[in-house]
Symmetry: C2
Subunit: 230 residues, 2 copies
DNA sequence: AATTAAACTTACTCGTCAGTAAATTAATGA
DNA sequence: TCATTAATTTACTGACGAGTAAGTTTAATT
């Protein structure tokens, strides 16, 4: 296999040819740091893809390294160890969901409308590269410290859902229900997407989300009334 | 750790003291076979519990053997190998779900009512010892043959759900919806229970199921009409 | 040009664990 | 009582893979 050193090659900043000889060295230092960040991110993404494809335990760090044209010790150079790598994948995924909350949170109207938006973003995140890791990052595979942090992050998402449900019950946009179990059910359905969604599926993430939301909002029983879905 | 040879000790048939000397040998042969089956089942159950507690890859066959007071090669004697063990756990779990379909299937009334029954049984199965294995038995951890059989069994359950949904749409007990996505959503929510349900939870499986069903049947949006939940 | 630090590699160690060979003990049957 | 088969063990092999030590090349700093 060709050692392309693609980690470096992939670098978005090309080795600037006609470099202006001595601008503030700060710029270079910052650029270097950014570069390092990009390489790290590439490694993490490659890991996420490998984990999703083969599972955490069936993926060796040699695999991950090879996927990006590099050798194992470099993985240790950029990321602490295998657990840390999984953890980073997890965090990247969670960040996307947190972002979904962020944007939906102050998008006015009813709590139900906001919830629906969160769910759409949630589904989008789950189908992405990091969805699998986010959903399957097992406490079991992480030491106590990381496991605790994972639980913490998961719990925050859960609490976010429950808060929206309670708000909806209060503003009348959501039927009275058990927020805890409802949040579990909704999150579970969405998380599960990571188990079956594989790349080229018939439906786009947005379409999947729409159908899920249809079920959650309207329910299975026929309705005499006809509330808007969102 | 005390080697109690509990696999033998646990045997439900006690070493009959006042044995009637020579009844038909068939009885003994049958009893022996049954005994073997029981030991095998005990191993499989122990494995399921260990897998759930520590994950498949963090559980060694020595662990499983020790859990039942026996040594590793005996596991190979009763079950082929580690994959096979996981597969058996999976099958045991699936069998429970299949049973839920069986009993619900001819329990009359509307398709929606039957579906609700299936879901209750489904939830019960997921919270049991084999729920975890059933939900997480990764194709990834099984060779092509077993993986295919797992997929087949999963697909059968999925088809069962879709069939009920279609029947409900036809008999008018279920609002028109996309059966495939709806089945995915419902199954996902239930499967996910295996991720968070741990032994002594506040709610019984039946209560959890009831709340989930409440969501699926009635939806989040308030209703002007008031259909029965089941 | 000399010094230092970062990026990256080769070549190893070391533990764990699935799986097996070969022996031993207990049970069944003739 | 002897022979055969099943149940169970001890004691191993062999591979794989996480993690590391120590080196080499490349780039930044003075």
């Amino acid at each position: 296999m060709l050692k392309t050193r693609s980690l470096t090659a992939k670098s978005v900043t090309p080795p600037r040819r006609g470099r202006p000889p001595s601008l503030s060295p700060w710029r270079d230092a910052a650029a270097r740091d950014a570069e390092r960040g990009r390489k790290r991110a590439a490694l993490i993404r490659a890991a996420a893809q490998a984990f999703r494809a083969n599972g955490f335990h069936n993926t060796s760090l040699d695999d991950v390294a090879a996927a990006v044209g590099v050798t194992k010790p470099l993985v240790y150079h950029y990321v602490g160890n295998k657990q840390q790598l999984l953890f980073e994948c997890f965090c990247t995924g969670v960040e996307q969901i947190r972002a979904a909350f962020e944007t939906a949170e102050h998008s006015g109207t009813t709590a139900r409308a906001r919830l629906v938006r969160v769910l759409a973003g949630y589904a989008e995140a789950i189908t992405g590269d990091f969805g699998w890791c986010m959903v399957r990052a097992e406490d079991l595979d992480l030491d106590a410290t990381l496991s605790a942090r994972v639980k913490q992050l998961k719990s925050e998402i859960d609490q976010g859902l429950r808060r929206l449900l309670r708000a909806g019950i209060e503003d009348g946009s959501i039927r009275s229900c058990d927020p805890k179990m409802t949040a579990f059910a909704v999150a579970g359905a969405l998380n599960w997407i990571a188990h079956w969604h594989r790349g080229r599926d018939a439906l786009t993430p947005a379409e999947i989300a729409a159908r899920f939301i249809d079920l959650f909002v309207l329910g299975l029983a026929p309705r005499a009334d006809r509330p808007r879905r969102r």
